[in-house]
Each structure stands twice: as structure tokens, then as C-alpha cells.
């Protein structure tokens, strides 16, 4: 299962449609403070099914939609599409390319798609089950997690163990 690209549109600071190719083995993401790097990571978490707004640094889901600047009005929806090559047949799908998409509208409605076919959030979670990828897996690592593991906050070590086994 190889990552191929990530498309972000209307999610947090990504007002305009942005496509990043993640097809190399090791890809670096750089830029000044506040330019949007962690927002890219939040978008990956979110499209994989993250429901806890706290893990997306937001108080409510509505805050994930681009909220406008002096020069631009806010967006009415946020969309993220993560595309994979199903090269090791890890994803239970007959397709060679799998595109997972999530959209949230200002109205509060959500849309989920696999290869452009509407589905439910749990279909996306089911797709990734057993791959080690989930929105809260040990595969997305940041400094706060490093510290939580050291403090064993809320028995996090145990929880990560159970996820990996």
C-alpha cells in the first residue's frame, strides 16, 4: 500500500486546492512557523477518520474549515483526498488505486467516498483495519506524543501496545 498523493481543499489554512505527491520513500515537509505543515498532518489524520477534535487542535469540527482572512471569505466546505497504490494488496479492494475522500460542509453535513463512491466513515476505518494505519496509530508521531509516552499519560503505552499487536 503505497501513498501516492494528498489533496487538501478548504481544510484549515489550505483555502486553495493543494496537491502533494508522497510517492517517495522519505519525503520532507519544511517551512516557517505557522505556514501549515502540521495542518497537512491534521488533514491526513482527519481523512483517515479522526473524530476527536482535540487531536486536530480544534474545539469543534466546524473549526476545520478554512475560516477566512481579511482578504478572503471563509470556505463553505473542507475536502481532503488521500490516494494510495494498492501495490501489496494490503487494502481489501479490487482496485489498484484507492482514493479515500472526506468532506465537511459548513451546514454540518459530512461526505465520505472511496474511489468516488459515497460510503460511511466506518467503511473507511474498515478499509484500513489491520494495516496499522488509523487516525490514532503509532504511525503518526509528534512531540506531545513523545512526552505522553514518557509520562505514560492515561496509560498510553498500554494502548499503543494493543494497537500494534
Amino acid at each position: 500500500m503505497r501513498l501516492s498523493s494528498l489533496e487538501i481543499h478548504g481544510f484549515k489554512s489550505f483555502a486553495d486546492k493543494t496537491v502533494i505527491n508522497f510517492n517517495k520513500n522519505i519525503t520532507g515537509v519544511v517551512g516557517p512557523n505557522g505556514c501549515g505543515k502540521s495542518n497537512v498532518i491534521d488533514s491526513i489524520r482527519w481523512v483517515l477518520g479522526e473524530q476527536r477534535t482535540k487531536n486536530l487542535r480544534s474545539d469543534k469540527m466546524d473549526n476545520l474549515i478554512f475560516n477566512g482572512t481579511k482578504m478572503r471569505k471563509s470556505a463553505n466546505r473542507a475536502t481532503v483526498v488521500l490516494t494510495f497504490e494498492n501495490d501489496r494488496n494490503l487494502l481489501p479492494s479490487e482496485f489498484t488505486t484507492v482514493a479515500v475522500s472526506r468532506t465537511l460542509y459548513r451546514t454540518g453535513e459530512s461526505e465520505y467516498k472511496i474511489n468516488n463512491v459515497n460510503c460511511r466513515l466506518k467503511d473507511i476505518s474498515a478499509l484500513f483495519m489491520d494495516t496499522g494505519i488509523s487516525s490514532d496509530s503509532y504511525a503518526i508521531i509528534e512531540l506531545s506524543m513523545i512526552n505522553d509516552i514518557l509520562a505514560d499519560k492515561e496509560n498510553v503505552r498500554r494502548k499503543l501496545f494493543e494497537q500494534a499487536s
Partner: protein, 155 residues
């Protein structure tokens, strides 16, 4: 279920020792154990880490960078149990000195044979180890934009 857990636990323990020695050195010692071995499914997981020559009573006595490296070792040892197809790291190299950034990036290079890595960083020492770089910018205030970066422009 207990047997299954203990089998996974012991594998992770071995992975932990392997990764820890790669990030620290061969003479550094660490261990992973259950606070309540008779009750494995409920027990908390405890970590000990002793960089060579030092005798810290708990991991809390270690330095900021040593703690980060120890925590990273545990996360990577779980990763090795069941390698995820991709891993995303957000400024995890921030507390590390140059030598440790090098070791960190070397072990990622090794793991990248099996998984893809996306690494967010501010450190040039990390940027020189990746295969492609995307720069995120905010030329228009509040609006993020992504551009591929040529390696030559980093120097």
C-alpha cells in the same frame, strides 16, 4: 489472549533493545517490563533506560534529548512489530543534538525499505537525509501553499 499479548510484548522488548542501542550505542542498556507480571492484560508498561556510564533511578532523571530518544525507541519498537505502510513525524527531531539527529535519520532510512516516511522538520541536518522536499509557504497571509523544493537551494 494472555499468551498472545506476552508473545507480542516480548517481541517489542527485543525490538526496544535493538532500536535503543542503535539510537544510543551498544554499551547503553534499556528494558521494558510489566509492573504487574501476574496480570499482563491489566498491567502498566514500565521503561528503564541507562545510557552508558549513567545510573538514573528513573527515566525522569534523563536529559530532554535522552528522554525523547528513549520514547522514540519505544514507538519504533512497536512499529517494528507491525510496520505501518507509512509513518508521519512532526518535528520529532527538535530536542536532538546533531549526532543524534544523524542516528535518528539513519534508522528511518533503514525502516524506509518497508514503509514510507513523511517528516516535518526545521533542521537542515534532517533535510539532507530525505529524498524529496515540499516547502509550505504563506505568501498570501493566512493562505497555505505547497511548492516542491530543489535540494540545491537548501545550501
Amino acid at each position: 489472549a494472555t499468551e498472545k499479548f506476552m508473545e507480542a510484548f516480548n517481541k517489542v522488548k527485543d525490538n526496544f533493545k535493538y532500536v535503543f542501542k542503535r539510537l544510543f550505542s551498544e554499551e547503553d542498556v534499556c528494558d521494558l517490563f510489566l509492573t504487574d507480571p501476574d496480570n499482563p492484560l491489566e498491567s502498566k508498561v514500565e521503561i528503564t533506560a541507562k545510557p552508558k556510564g549513567k545510573r538514573p533511578l528513573t527515566i525522569n532523571q534523563l536529559s530532554g534529548g535522552e528522554k525523547a530518544l528513549t520514547s522514540i525507541s519505544l514507538i519504533f519498537s512497536l512499529y517494528l512489530l507491525k510496520p505501518a505502510p507509512f509513518c508521519v513525524l512532526d518535528e520529532v527531531d527538535a530536542p536532538l543534538d546533531d549526532a543524534n539527529v544523524g542516528k535518528f535519520n539513519n534508522i528511518i532510512k533503514q525502516f524506509s525499505e518497508n514503509s514510507q516516511f513523511i517528516i516535518v522538520t526545521h533542521k537542515k541536518e534532517t533535510m539532507v537525509h530525505v529524498e524529496a522536499i515540499y516547502g509550505v509557504t504563506m505568501a498570501e497571509p493566512g493562505i497555505s501553499k505547497v511548492v516542491p523544493v530543489e535540494f540545491a537551494s537548501l545550501n
